[in-house]
Symmetry: C2
């Protein structure tokens, strides 16, 4: 039995409400780092299968930090692949244009607006205001960028105000929590069907997962950090991981969707940067082991608030069974109460993050 | 921070393509067992939140084995609740009508067809032909019923032929594998974005999960079966669980979506019904434990074929960490290769199964 993905694609039906036979889906990609390039590669590969279903997915634009390329008829697949592989630079394309930053790019985009266009944000820019403006212009926004969703609450509210009108364009951000893991789609289904979300707990840092697993296996915390750095699992400065800020951002995104009014600075975060905390951890691991338990660095979101830090867990618990850099989300609801719903897998990486973005995009147009 | 589900619902945007301000979503529910009643209860509870988003979700009909009620304007919430709670019987409603079986019901339905209507199948009937006919009539079908999807391949093909046309209505069956667990939506996203599915392995029988966990903890197999029966975890005749047929049905549904042309009778199933198999198992558990491993009853679907039976797994593996009646799906793809995507949680029960059906229904209309 061949596991042929084309067979699989065919089981996704068209919605009844298709306005015309051939659907043009114009996409403008902002950001051309690892995730952006993986996304372009995936789109170029999937376009024939989509065309067979009468969806003309067109990347009409790609923007970098200081220039962009816009081709209304769609950027050819060969150019998408070359940009993805780094064999050609978008800024060298004869039709490439300079821009002076995100606000300038937004103005240039507005002049070229296409009906039903979707902006894909795969930057790490602080562009909450652009998200609100893009939605206001009637464009769908799909983002892998966590910063707009963790911006100060008034800027966050400005985004959400744009999407709460009945005719709002779509705003999707699946890739911001677990890359390609189906977290927000699952929470959305639960909420839409009237389930009550009690808590969401997550091991959402691959780096800290790797370090904590090594400590569980007997490594000293300082040595585990050094090993993670050596393997390229950490940010250039490991303190950026140890501070817990990235985990706090993911926790805040979930919490705000559940109604929290907190800002990033309000989230209680246990930083592992101070020397005494790191020395403490070696003892805490030994203490936990003596009780037959272990430690994990978790984000916890519930009616009691948001907490990010070290938690002691049973070895038989879902989090206790997690090893290495994999992520895990444990969702408890009124319906998933005795046993939670658990989603586990790689929660970072260009390919799975791009796939999360791509799935978000397709779900807008193709239920 | 209140975990208020209404807050959560609000983050689900409307699609741009809404044909009119107030959307009428007519639903006809076939089957009024535990899942059907839970579904009616969930719909009655969710209707106000949906109405606030201008979706008028209308249960226009409910059918039992020999009668049905059809009210074009929608069955009032009070009646839905009474039918769900068993305080009133649909067949006693003054407008209830008799029917002479599914084919007869289909004819009665055809005479009352509503534009964009969705049939929700929460029966356990062998009604593949009705599914094909309903789709041919232009109606969406959402099913928790595994039988149509595991019918002989020509009848299965007849269903799939109806849904592969560009203007086909939707056909959704999330609840057939893991109740409310997001299995098919995840596989669909993977396929649509061009991922290649390598294998899907599942612990999909809560009953066998309970029994195998008890054996892992030292119980004799025969005693664990007796205990499962005493607790009401088994079918009235436990051999219906031990034969593995329900697991085989779930495996076949996944396999067929991946391109398999097998029929249910072709699936290699290790039955635990014969006495010698059950005696053998006590020894196999001891042997596995001596190797630091354990046993699980798994469905395995890959390019190598479909297999349902006892597998030895490492205690540190995802399946090894699974306890009791919970289900688990382990999905390996080209993108989820080094570490798979794992979804775990209760895979049966009226509330979560109804929620899976309800989420399928809402996704048809509201991306």
């Amino acid at each position: 039995m061949p596991a042929d993905p084309r067979r699989h694609v065919s089981f996704k039906p068209f919605p009844l409400s298709l306005p015309e036979r051939k659907r043009i889906v114009p996409v403008f990609v902002v950001g051309k780092g690892n995730v952006g390039r993986a996304f372009l590669r995936q789109v170029a590969a999937a376009r024939p299968a989509l065309a067979a279903r009468d969806v003309d997915l067109r990347v009409v634009g790609i923007a970098g930090r200081s220039s962009f390329l816009f081709l209304r008829a769609g950027i050819p697949d060969a150019v998408l692949r070359a940009a993805a592989d780094g064999t050609a630079r978008i800024e060298d394309h004869p039709r490439a244009e300079p821009h002076g930053g995100l606000a300038d790019l937004a103005a240039a985009l507005a002049a070229r607006a296409m009906d039903g266009q979707t902006i894909v944000d795969v930057t790490a820019e602080d562009d909450a205001d652009q998200h609100a403006a893009w939605l206001r212009a009637g464009w769908n926004v799909v983002t892998a960028n966590k910063k707009p969703l963790t911006a100060p609450i008034d800027r966050y509210d400005a985004i959400m105000a744009e999407r709460s009108r009945p005719w709002s364009p779509a705003y999707r951000f699946e890739a911001t929590a677990g890359a390609g893991l189906p977290i927000f789609s699952t929470l959305r289904d639960m909420a839409a069907t009237g389930d009550r979300i009690i808590s969401v707990n997550g091991a959402v840092s691959g780096t800290l997962g790797f370090i904590f697993s090594a400590c569980e296996d007997g490594a000293r915390f300082a040595d585990a950090v050094a090993e993670a750095k050596r393997l390229g699992y950490t940010e250039p400065d490991p303190r950026d991981d140890l501070a817990g800020t990235d985990v706090a951002r993911k926790a805040l995104i979930v919490a705000r969707l559940m109604g929290s009014r907190l800002d990033l600075g309000d989230v209680a975060v246990e930083s592992l940067v101070p020397d005494r905390v790191r020395e403490d951890l070696d003892r805490r691991f030994l203490d936990a082991a003596a009780r037959g338990r272990t430690l994990r660095y978790l984000a916890s979101v519930s009616a009691d608030g948001v907490r990010v830090g070290v938690e002691e867990v049973g070895r038989e618990s879902p989090f206790g069974g997690l090893k290495g850099p994999e992520n895990m989300f444990v969702i408890r609801t009124a319906r998933y109460d005795a046993a939670p719903l658990v989603i586990r897998g790689p929660g970072a990486g260009a390919e799975v993050t791009a796939a999360g973005v791509f799935a978000d995009l397709l779900r807008i147009f193709d239920t």
